[in-house]
């Protein structure tokens, strides 16, 4: 099955500046003809390129908002991070009311099923052989492990994430209320690209219970527009009786799962580079004793998602404040527990597991002798290349260029050092090297810059 990718490059906006290429943790990006190109077999939808792009040329494909109206019964599945986007003086019930007004009859928070997820996860933590168990909460991490750490796929916790469990729950509830399955549309409001990919091509599952995905930034715009229009004249809706527990509010933050883990030794790591560094050690069996690993692709976890609006630290602060407030109510026994969800506990626990998670490792060749031949050639080439990783060849590193030359037919003359070397020996003239330059950076690279200067 082809893997869906939410991150795409808008060729019209892309200036081929290669910022994205330099930050991609799986070396999935190349610059050709003056534009960045993403290799879909390597991309894990982490969003580093989106953050690095100075021209807003990396975009996250989303479903058309009007799609929701194809369904008579519309559900907005919102993560707690969404409510964390707004200032403290905008109440949760006001945001719920606006979501109702723009088309969703039902609003449910993703983390409402966190207690069920945690129960199933802790059971696995007690029983599992493969240690450390690695959380599947963050889909970019799941994809990273599939692509880069195939040996650790068996350490991934084979459970649906709270998002999918909640989608399953709300569908069941609405079906019991009399809705036909095909009339229910569940739309997830995502803080990142990876969750979109997870919904469009779920790992270890045939089909997701989510019908569509709405980017958090675009929904923020819609809601904020309403807030501005309303001014002081607004209504609030009575919130559903079942509210998130303080623990559930914090699930999507760094340490959110770890603090509920039953394992004696567990770690929580956020950021792609940090996660990769640690996974290398786990893969080499250098890590002993750690039983549970919570890895999140974004700094500060979901509040750092690329589709969020608010500063990630402020989002964390707001979510902590909310959790503290709820914790106070819990202590005083004032909080009504999510009884409706608890009633479906058995059903959800029975449907919480996902099938086998497959590796999607990238090797030089599926045939080991051929791979070995290629690797010998690549190693020889690496010695010829300058190891400067300047990126002028449109490839993120000298090593990546060596691999592209042997496996994908790239020419060694892409290397600017080799070009100069050949020019000095009169083996290459200026026209030839300019042609190579244009193939990589596009013919307009210099001209465009001049035109921009004139405009100023």
């Amino acid at each position: 099955m082809a893997f869906y990718h939410a991150l795409q490059i808008n060729g019209n906006a892309c200036e081929g500046c290669s910022h994205c290429m330099r930050v991609c943790p799986t070396e999935a990006i190349r610059v050709r003809d003056g534009k960045a190109h993403i290799d879909e077999t390597r991309c894990v939808d982490c969003g580093n390129c989106f953050i690095a792009c100075p021209h807003k040329a990396v975009f996250v494909k989303q479903d058309d908002f009007e799609e929701i109206f194809k369904f008579p019964c519309r559900v907005a599945l919102i993560p707690a991070v969404f409510l964390g986007q707004f200032k403290n003086d905008i109440s949760v019930s006001r945001i719920y009311a606006i979501l109702n007004e723009i088309g969703f009859q039902h609003v449910i928070e993703t983390e409402i099923t966190t207690p069920i997820y945690t129960e199933a996860k802790n059971k696995l933590e007690r029983e599992a052989d493969a240690k450390p168990l690695i959380s599947t909460f963050c889909p970019a991490i799941v994809r990273l492990i599939q692509v880069k750490f195939p040996g650790l796929v068996e350490n991934l916790i084979p459970l649906k994430a709270p998002l999918d469990i909640t989608a399953l729950y709300i569908r069941r509830k609405l079906e019991k209320d009399g809705w036909r399955p095909e009339d229910i549309g569940v739309f997830y409001v995502t803080p990142c690209a990876a969750k979109i990919a997870a919904v469009k091509s779920p790992v270890g599952e045939e089909k997701s219970s989510v019908d569509g995905v709405i980017n958090m930034d675009s929904l923020y715009n819609r809601v904020y527009k309403k807030i501005k229009e309303q001014g002081h004249d607004y209504k609030e809706v009575k919130l559903p009786i079942a509210q998130l527990t303080s623990d559930s509010i914090l699930t999507s933050l760094t340490n959110g799962e770890r603090r509920l883990s039953v394992s004696e030794h567990s770690l929580s790591i956020d950021g792609m580079d940090n996660s990769i560094e640690f996974l290398e050690k786990v893969e080499s069996e250098e890590i002993e004793d750690v039983e549970f690993l919570e890895l999140r692709a974004c700094d500060q976890s979901c509040p750092g998602g690329i589709l969020t609006y608010n500063n990630r630290f402020l989002t964390c602060e707001r979510m902590f404040a909310r959790a503290r407030y709820v914790a106070g109510k819990e202590r005083r026994g004032e909080l009504t527990r999510a009884k409706e969800v608890e009633e479906e506990r058995d059903f959800l626990l029975n449907n919480i597991e996902v099938g086998e998670i497959e590796s999607r490792s990238i090797s030089l060749d599926s045939d080991i002798s051929k791979a070995l031949e290629k690797l010998v050639k690549i190693n020889r080439l690496k010695k010829m290349l300058p190891q400067v990783d300047c990126g002028m060849c449109g490839t993120p590193s000298c090593d990546a260029l060596a691999e592209d030359i042997i496996c994908r037919g790239a020419k060694a003359t892409r290397c600017v050092f080799i070009q100069h070397h050949l020019e000095k020996q009169n083996a290459m003239d200026l026209d030839e090297s300019m042609k190579i330059w244009d193939d990589i950076w596009g013919e307009d690279k210099i001209k465009v810059k001049h035109r921009k200067k004139e405009n100023k």
């Binding site: 893969e283 080499s284 069996e285 490792s361 080991i368 010998v376």
Partner: protein, 137 residues
């Protein structure tokens, strides 16, 4: 394909550099992850042994389509009784080495469990060569 790495006496900080480099190579060759894991565990163990007990040495790896042959060659005190050292729990590690979490006497036995062929050659006062072979398919 032939690869070589240097081992420095007492340099536990860099223990595992040969095994992680070889891990990367085997992954590029599409070797089954469970086999990669065995190679890495065995080589790491042998690396630590040489760092702990010897006065330096080297690791060599020869990879062909069917097997990987690893040699950890050290200059060191040698192992007087190889059969004794092959038994779990037997260790000559110093208290300092044990304090660092090494030296439990599981080195050679653990290597044996993870490789398909193991050959230990040792001359007291000269050094030890641990030869490990793992089938790649």
């Amino acid at each position: 394909m032939h690869l070589e790495y240097t081992i420095v006496e007492g340099d536990f900080v860099n223990a595992g550099s040969a095994s992680s480099s070889i891990k990367k190579t085997l992954k590029q060759l599409n070797v089954n992850p469970s086999i990669v894991k065995r190679v890495v565990v065995a080589l790491y163990e042998a690396e630590v042994n040489a760092i702990a007990h010897a006065y330096g040495g080297k690791v060599t790896a020869d990879i062909d389509a069917g097997t990987i042959l690893l040699r950890v060659i050290d200059r060191g005190p040698g192992i007087p009784d190889i059969d004794w050292a092959m038994q779990e729990g037997n260790s000559t590690a110093s208290p300092e080495v044990r304090d660092m979490g090494f030296g439990a006497g599981m080195g050679l036995p653990n290597i044996k469990k993870n490789v398909d062929r193991l050959n230990v050659q040792s001359t007291v006062g000269v050094g030890t060569t641990v030869e490990m072979e793992v089938n790649l398919a």
